[in-house]
């Protein structure tokens, strides 16, 4: 641990300094490539209108202005339903949907990975096959199912179907396969119940998988306007409200660019938060001994 404080000391004795340099060069090259779109999206939000429509488009902003945000807030203030309502709706759907999916997918994955029960393998095969199906075509029958439950225009419509995600289960199962059986047996001998093993041993040990699953779910729910299922104004989501703003054409272009930045902040924030809290804390607790 102490060694790390000496920056000049090479961390990996097996590699030459040239190798270190190479790694940095590769990462910088790709990093720049990846960062260009983000830099542009950020700059876009601060560009005055004439710069937004300049051709060819520039990546950087030359005369930064906050007018786009002012416009956006003015438009937000004019909306029929208080704007905080849209934010609450989206946060609510995203939070419940993500947490629920994490729990349900993990529970299913745990028994599929670690219990031998009749039909388990067939079930898993069926679930993985279903991932491959074209979602667009099932949209209409799914709508009819939801409509049959009378869930249209309630929060149940976007949340409940999002809970059972085959991709999440598949991912979780693959991670849980990596937990040594001996660890679970030890817990069982010490008197742990199934639920205890699941919450206290399995879940903490697959924390890195949480990150991936959370990202999948947040991406899907946060950006989804849900306009298929919800039509009451007070239940509408943030992406829907914002897309209404950007639909205003040229006059709203500035506000539209600000909207883009606004929508990106949350997924990026969640990534950075979970990266530092979930991934980094796992760094020295590898289970595959």
């Amino acid at each position: 641990m102490k060694k790390r404080k000496f920056r000049l000391k090479r961390r990996q004795p097996g590699r030459s300094r040239g190798g270190d340099l190479g790694v940095y060069i590769i990462l910088t090259l790709f990093g720049v490539m990846f960062a260009i779109p983000l830099v542009m999206a950020i700059c876009q939000a601060f560009k005055p209108l004439d710069e937004l429509y300049k051709f060819p488009q520039t990546i950087l902003v030359y005369n930064p202005t906050l007018n786009n945000f002012k416009d956006l807030f003015v438009i937000m203030g004019q909306s029929w339903v208080p704007f905080s309502r849209y934010i609450f709706n989206t946060v609510f759907i995203t939070a419940i949907g993500t947490a629920g999916r994490l729990l349900i997918a993990s529970m299913g994955a745990y028994v599929l990975a670690k219990y031998d029960f009749p039909g388990g393998r067939k079930l898993f095969a069926m679930i993985t096959t279903a991932i491959m199906f074209n979602g667009y075509v099932t949209d209409i029958p799914r709508y009819l199912v939801i409509s049959g439950f009378g869930w249209i225009d309630t929060f149940l419509a976007p949340i409940v179907p999002a809970l059972a995600a085959p991709m999440g289960l598949f991912l979780m199962k693959q991670f849980m396969e990596g937990i040594p059986d001996s660890l679970l047996e030890a817990a069982k001998i010490d008197g742990a119940k199934e639920w205890g093993i699941f919450t206290k041993i399995v879940m903490p040990n697959v924390k890195p998988a949480w990150l991936t699953l959370i990202i999948f779910a947040v991406q899907e729910l946060w950006n989804n306007p849900q306009s298929t299922y919800i039509y009451s104004e007070e239940l509408k989501t943030l992406p829907y409200a914002l897309s209404q703003i950007t639909a205003g054409g040229v006059a709203r272009a500035g506000a539209g660019a600000a909207v883009g930045l606004f929508m990106m902040i949350v997924p990026i924030g969640i990534f950075i938060f979970s990266e530092s809290n979930i991934l980094e804390t796992m760094a020295s607790s590898g289970i595959k001994e």
Binding site: M40, Y115, L144, G150
Partner: protein
């Protein structure tokens, strides 16, 4: 007797726990995935009309299918459609090049990002950005905003503006190494930006997998005189191999289900403006069958090589 009964009881207990834990998922799976899938299969064999449910006092819409089992004309209609066939073949060809490229690339980047260096969190976030940018807001807003699409064009221009590809291609061609053999290589280089942008999730999955490998294993290997190269192939690779399978499945599906995929565009187009529900369902089912076969073969090969920790 007592000994004989014990395993049966354990089996039964396992079964009960198993079903209890998986029940919530199964319910959701049956209702919102399997049922719609089979509905759509029925649609592919039927004539479909959609009617407002308000006539019957409900909310939303109901679907009325008139089953016409006698001839599966939807399937015939497009299977002999030459355009659909070429689209399909093109998509599969491109997949064969891009998917391995994405997996190798993301594995490589994940290995780099798994090492200790200053600002690692920041660099990881940068590599994750394309996920947010490509699947998120910008794509969603694109329809409403000409600005965003012009921005996307500018980004692509900036990405290829360095012209590494063109230079490399001329160099290789003039040395006489060109020809058919190198075409896939050029395609990969040309698509490097695409590959890089499509690798966000795969990088995260690989980093997550690398995190579960204990550092003490590498220490032990080093003490035994293992070189870094050896410990990569003997420790890292086997322990992460199950995630290669995950990434393979994810990447293939992501690639074949992408909205800019020609086949997908055709199918989606049939749903929304053309309202050809039956035909689109038939197309989706045949596409599904092809994807399932491709993926099934790939997964069967790879999963033989996957090492599961005992």
């Amino acid at each position: 007797m007592a000994r004989k009964r014990k395993p049966r009881n354990l089996r039964r207990r396992n079964a009960i726990t198993g079903y209890l834990f998986i029940a919530p998922f199964i319910v959701g799976f049956l209702l919102f995935l399997l049922k719609p899938m089979f509905e759509s299969f029925r649609m592919s064999l039927s004539e479909v009309t959609i009617a407002a449910a308000s006539q019957k006092g409900g909310k939303g819409f109901v679907m009325e299918t008139i089953t016409t089992w006698k001839e599966s004309n939807y399937y015939q209609a497009f299977f002999f459609d030459p355009q659909y066939k070429t689209q399909l073949v093109d998509a599969l060809k491109e997949m064969a090049i891009q998917v391995p490229a994405i997996i190798v690339f993301s594995f490589f980047i994940a290995l780099l990002l798994n090492q200790e260096f200053k600002g690692r969190g920041f660099v990881r976030a940068v590599f994750f950005l394309p996920v947010i940018l490509s699947s998120g807001v910008i794509v969603g807003l694109e329809y409403n905003n000409a600005l965003m699409s012009s921005m996307k064009g500018a980004i692509e221009e900036a990405g290829s503006g360095m012209n590494i590809t063109a230079t490399l291609e001329t160099v290789l061609r003039t040395t006489g190494l060109g020809g058919k053999l190198l075409d896939p290589v050029f395609k990969i280089i040309e698509a490097v930006y695409d590959v890089a942008l499509a690798s966000g999730i795969q990088i995260i999955i690989f980093i997550s997998a690398l995190q579960t490998v204990s550092p003490s294993m590498y220490e032990a290997a080093k003490i035994e005189g293992c070189t870094a190269w050896e410990s990569f192939w003997k420790i890292t690779f086997p322990l992460v191999s199950s995630m290669i399978l995950v990434n393979l499945v994810y990447t293939t599906i992501d690639f074949l289900m992408r909205t800019d995929n020609q086949v997908m565009t055709t199918i989606t187009h049939k749903v929304t403006p053309e309202m050809e529900y039956g035909l689109s369902a038939a197309m989706a089912w045949s596409y599904f069958a092809i994807v399932a076969v491709v993926l099934g073969v790939l997964a069967a090969i790879i999963s033989k090589k996957v090492y599961y920790y005992e």
